[in-house]
Amino acid sequence: MKTDIVLAGVGGQGILSIASILGEAALRDNLYLKQAETHGMSQRGGAVVSHVRISDDAVASDLIPVGTADIILSVEPMEALRYLPFLKEDGYIVTNTTPFKNIPNYPNEEEILAELKKQPRCIAIDADAIASEIGNRRASNMVMLGAATPFIQITPEKIEAGIQRVFSKKGEDVVNLNLEAFRAGRNFALANK
């Protein structure tokens, strides 16, 4: 059993915290893991991507080969489409629909959403709206992580434990907010799968 995830977003959107929660949960589950990240220049508002590979067996390459990723998990709609070549034929796209516009030539939003709709297995979710409703827009990446769980081999309970560990220093309120966001994302994905 293996899960190859392409995590996408824009520098500063916090995809690295999704990656580290997943990574830690995998390790505690005695699974093998490799997780390649983007550091450096492109963290200044550029496109960033992380390849997360979780498996029962040792993982060789730090990068996912083209056409084999099980899911693209993106916190930004255009960034989800950028990595389409990595997705396997029956792979899932799980993406936030709120655009991050930090460039003057950001494409027409409708066209991006239309392009996503064209994809056979795509879960598009307004994570920012869900997170705001719960209490803080910044928890939108936990909504996205939750939405990806139906496609990941680690149980949601174990990921929740990871969220608890990562946010515990910031107090109980922050932990609960993030857990709630996570569950909301998961429920959305289960209902719209």
């Binding site: 450096g40 220049m41 200044r44 550029g46 060789a60 390459s61 056409g67 389409l84």
Partner: protein, 542 residues
């Protein structure tokens, strides 16, 4: 055993701590920066008293590490690939002096230039200086090789290079730690002339280094990190170096590869291993990250007329990073194509943060230069290099750290007046000071802009060696204090900034204009750290 989830760079930092270092020396540079940051933040390193503050540049870092080794202690020095150009004088000569306490140079190459000006391959440098290289294929090996590397350095009597590339540096995996080795006692070299490279001594030591080459090769041959796995199919063999070994395994799990595989992760390349490959294989493919260093060596070593392919032959691209797909293609395997990227997707290049002081500086500079022809601003390396892109399009050069001041001087000498240099505070103390001294001594007509955000920002906000010292350094170098101007780059001071530019552009001589406002990201980081210390005052922070 409990595994730690480590980035490659973190595995190296932990390996050095557990390997018994007394100090790490480094100047930041992607993708090597987090090695030193890991040690700076490690509670164990603080307990053990491992020194870890940033150096002003890679040369000062390298020499300080060599001094620590002279005193008998184990030490590591870290840098990105181009940093080794800066430290090259010390590096090459340190192979001849040799070491006393174990010394590792960890150098991080950046194939595909994710965050660099070039993709030079540090293995060339190691070959040039004639020292051994360890090139881990994964995070666990990175940890083990560094931890054990100090003893190897002590055994062989020279510094050992650990070469990694961006992918390994910035990828996480589970890593098992081993026991922490104790550090060395202070003990000077037994031969007091060892480090005195006067010609007569240098000649003797250089001969010694040449003689040692066979020991280095022997060490590589018996290294547990090098191996040959033979196959009965003699038609084809593969030499996989460093991380390329993973890409091979992605295509053929180790026990399942139909061909003979030589794993090469410790250099110099053992000749005996190559002759085994020559005997056993009718054709050889070399998989290596970076330049065709091994491919060339293999071609030269083989006496039989055997086809050797790799990056030189065109089986793999000559430039850029490898991956499992490129390796699959070179192996003649079918590669999936994947879906197309939709046409509407546009690039998202990096940009200066909203509210960054460099922006205000560039706006004023552009306005002041509006009446002059274009092409007279020389710049340097840092966040401010993004001033080359729209909407600013202010700068016309970015070559190597410090080159802004010296290139502006040369262009001004040639008659391009006014000529302007734009440099950051950290780049200024890294390599700008000596160039400024040249300009002062020569009475050059240049305007030097020091865009001082009080941090090394491009690499993530490390402490700048220049903090609080910029004006006094300029004065010390001999710039007339009347032409050292200090401004705050904020929109409300725009007119004043333009006016100051106009005044200094009109002055025939060396002017320095310092624009000082803390980087917003560094300020945020500083406040997060202050809060951490307030919340937990007993914990040690570097």
């Amino acid at each position: 055993m409990q595994k730690n989830l480590f980035l490659g760079v973190e595995a190296i930092g932990q390996g050095a701590i557990d390997g018994g270092i007394s100090g790490v020396y480094a100047y930041p540079g992607t993708p090597s920066t987090e090695i030193t940051e890991f040690i700076q933040e490690s509670e164990l390193a603080a307990e053990l008293g491992i020194r870890s503050k940033w150096s002003s540049n890679e040369k000062t870092a390298y020499e300080a590490a060599l001094g620590m080794s002279y005193a008998g202690k184990r030490t590591m020095v870290c840098m990105k690939h181009v940093g080794l150009n800066v430290a090259a004088d010390a590096f090459v000569n340190s192979a001849i002096t040799g070491i006393n306490g174990g010394m590792i140079l960890t150098v991080a190459d950046d194939p595909s230039m994710h965050s660099s000006q070039n993709e030079q391959d540090s293995r060339f440098y190691a070959k040039f200086a004639m020292i051994p290289v360890l090139e881990p294929s994964n995070q666990q090996e990175a940890y083990d090789m560094v931890r054990e590397g100090f003893a190897l350095s002590e055994e062989l009597g020279v510094p050992v290079m650990v070469r990694i590339t961006t992918r390994l540096a910035h990828s996480r995996a589970g890593v098992e730690r081993s026991e922490v080795l104790s550090s060395n006692e202070l003990q000077l070299p037994s031969d007091p002339s060892q480090f005195v490279l006067l010609p007569a001594i240098a000649r003797r030591r250089y001969k010694g280094l040449l003689e040692k080459q066979k020991d280095f090769e022997k060490a590589a041959k018996k290294s547990k990190y090098n191996s040959i796995t033979k196959s009965s199919d003699r038609s084809f063999g593969i030499i996989a170096c460093g991380i390329a070994y993973n890409y091979l395994q992605e295509n053929y799990p180790i026990d399942d590869c139909p061909y003979t595989v030589m794993k090469l992760t410790q250099y110099p390349i053992p000749e005996k291993m190559l002759s085994k490959m020559e005997k056993h294989c009718e054709e050889v493919l070399v998989l290596e990250e970076g330049a065709p260093v091994v491919e060339e060596a293999v071609k030269a070593a083989f006496k039989k007329d055997i086809k050797v392919s790799g990056r030189l032959s065109g089986a793999l691209p000559r430039d850029g990073e490898l991956n499992a797909d490129l390796v699959a293609k070179a192996l003649g395997k079918e590669v999936l194509k994947g879906a197309e990227i939709p046409d509407i997707i546009v690039n998202r290049p990096p940009a200066l943060c909203q509210g960054c002081g460099h922006q205000d500086m560039y706006k004023a500079l552009n306005e002041a230069l509006d009446t002059f022809s274009k092409g007279r601003v020389f710049s340097d390396i840092g966040c401010y290099t993004l001033g080359a892109l729209p909407p600013y399009k202010s700068i016309y050069s970015c070559v190597d750290m410090g080159a802004s001041i010296t290139m502006a001087k040369g262009a001004s000498d040639a008659g391009l007046i006014p000529a302007i240099a734009v440099i950051g505070d950290s780049t200024f103390t890294h390599s700008g000071i000596t160039g400024l001294l040249d300009a002062v001594n020569d009475g050059s007509n240049i305007v030097v802009v020091i865009s001082d955000n009080e941090s090394v920002s491009m690499t993530g906000g490390q402490d700048s060696s220049a903090l609080g010292k910029v004006e006094s350094i300029c004065q010390g170098v001999g710039v007339d204090p009347a032409h050292i101007r200090v401004l705050v780059p904020l929109k409300k001071y725009h007119e004043q900034m333009v006016e100051t530019f106009n005044e200094e552009l009109a002055f025939d001589g060396v002017s320095v204009i310092v624009f000082r406002r803390e980087c917003i990201q560094a300020a945020a980081k500083r406040m997060r750290k202050a809060k951490k210390i307030k919340d937990n005052p007993k914990k040690q922070y570097s």
